[in-house]
Symmetry: C2
Subunit: 337 residues, 2 copies
């Protein structure tokens, strides 16, 4: 293993000079810099991460807590995680993957040991048990998600309330009066997951203002569960002409079921999804949708975090404005006979 001292010797300079060449924290003459860089290359030197962390007081690692639950749309999680890792590298950080399993204890372990300099927390519940710890730690953190009380925290999220409202507006404009909201799995609501409840709230309150009737049905994954849900919807509200879906695994089953029942989309029934662009575009009917900007969320979270680590920027809530894209799945409500 090559050490800084060996590089220094090889280059004929002192250890501190090598260190400063690496960090750029003081000016180095061109000649010295070149000799050092050459020595580094020739010896294949890589600074030791542990020594750096110990001496420098920072590990250059960001912890990312992802849920280990599998009842939510996984690709979104994955896309966020990858965006986080990619963006972090750009800023010189590596990413430590923590699953929700350890719970709040993981926060203590990672921050207490200096394993990570900061952390990003996903799958935030409205009243998340990790929040007190995050607030009291000296280490910066960013939530991807918005709890009930974001005081003293930095949050990055899609404005789900606005997203729900957008869906209601779109369907109202098209003349729909009875709409059904196919939501995430029941467990997601039972945990009071922020995004799910906010979307519902946003949809409901805008719907009320616009005179829409809304039937909300959480929906487990699987074709059968979707089938049961859709059947119940039409039983309870036969005049339903609009669907809002926030559950990627229900999208394709829903479209297949409507087809089977002889209900044409969008002539008889309109469908608006809240999902990643890719899902909307690849569905069997190109879906009118509010995009979930997973990459943007991951990237933004890292950038807020890096800003805090650099002493710039403080606590705030950064909500991304939702955008609804009209595609082939929504149209005028059918005339009432």
């Amino acid at each position: 293993m090559v050490t800084l001292a060996e590089v220094a010797q090889h280059a004929g300079v002192s250890a501190s000079t090598v260190s400063y060449v690496l960090s750029g924290k003081r000016s180095i003459s061109a000649g010295t810099r070149q000799r050092v860089e050459r020595a580094i290359r020739e010896l294949g030197y890589h600074p030791n991460a542990g020594a750096r962390a110990l001496a420098g007081g920072r590990s250059n690692i960001i912890a990312l807590m992802i849920p280990l639950r599998t009842d939510m749309y996984v690709p979104v999680m994955m896309e966020i995680a990858i965006a986080v890792a990619t963006t972090a590298r750009i800023h010189g950080y590596d990413v430590l993957l923590l699953t929700g399993e350890e719970g709040p204890e993981a926060v203590r372990r990672v921050t207490g040991s200096g394993l990570a300099d900061a952390m990003i927390v996903m799958d935030v519940q409205l009243d998340d048990e990790r929040l007190p710890l995050l607030r009291e730690t000296s280490r910066p953190s960013v939530l991807i998600g918005l709890p009930s009380d974001p005081t003293g925290l930095t949050c990055v999220d899609l404005d789900w309330t606005a997203a729900g409202a957008l869906c209601a507006e779109h369907l109202a404009q098209l003349g729909h009066r009875d709409i059904a909201f196919i939501g995430e799995a029941p467990a997601v609501y039972e945990r009071h997951t922020g995004f799910a409840e906010r979307t519902l709230d946003g949809l409901r309150s805008r719907a009320r203002e616009l005179g829409l009737r809304v039937l909300h049905r959480p929906c487990a994954a699987g074709y059968d569960a979707v089938a049961a849900t859709v059947t119940r919807v039409f039983d309870e509200r036969p005049r339903t002409t609009g669907f809002v879906v926030q559950n990627e695994s229900a999208v394709e089953p829903l479209l297949a079921l409507l087809r089977q029942q002889g209900r044409a989309v969008p002539e008889d029934v309109s469908v608006v999804a809240v999902c990643p662009e890719q899902v909307a575009v690849q569905a069997s009917v190109r879906l009118t949708s509010v995009a979930v900007p997973a990459q943007e969320m991951g990237r933004s979270a890292v950038e807020h975090l890096v800003a805090k680590l650099d002493g710039r920027g403080g606590d705030d809530v950064a909500l991304i404005a939702p955008e609804l894209t009209v595609r082939a799945s929504s149209g005028m409500a059918p005339a009432v006979h």
Copy 2:
């Protein structure tokens, strides 16, 4: 920040005693142990990760390289990643998330800096450019996937060749003679991704032995792409009665298309999928399938890695035997008229 020295002082013992209480590397009298543990608790002590890594020569971190490509079934990747993280924690390791983006350079950076003690590599191509580095590094590694030449490497994978063969056997037994294999996206084959090519090979060679005709069609994600593929299949081979699908995003579209064309599953056409159990069970027709044991793969990879870190176990290839579960999507080939 609480240090080991402070704990030692508080407990009235020496630093090394505290260290040994923590590591369990030498016997400690019950009394001493208790006083130390009490001091640790009272002071809220957490060993500094950097100092540990420096002094101990090991970081207790495992690096996990995941692809950042999005053309393969993401939930499987995610499930593996989560299984890796969970299993790693059980063995006292944390997981560092590396995206494929940095390529082979990431291997050098992480192993060279001592950031990670070992690494797990996913999305292995038959002739992967990271392999030479992994072979020459002193740090242990495990591949999830099987390259052409696994010499000097430890690999964990499903036996995809056997999986492909199983599918052929099942359909042959049911009397099918013309089968179509809907595969992963074209890019996956162009990269020579191990699992995709091996499944194809296994299917093809067993099919040849059994007198089956196989039409292989890679298939991009999205309903339209699947529709085009299926149409071409029946154009070229009108007597196709069996489908093997290794492409999760094509599963539901395929079933929907067959339904639309009035082809009943399994009366007219049988479908066998190679996918996670969950997908097979939740599809609109419960699918006969060969399970992709994502969790098992992640867990096994970590256990092999930990064995190597502990000086137990050396290089070997651990292939998981595939299992085919018969469900509702496969049946006797229709009689020929």
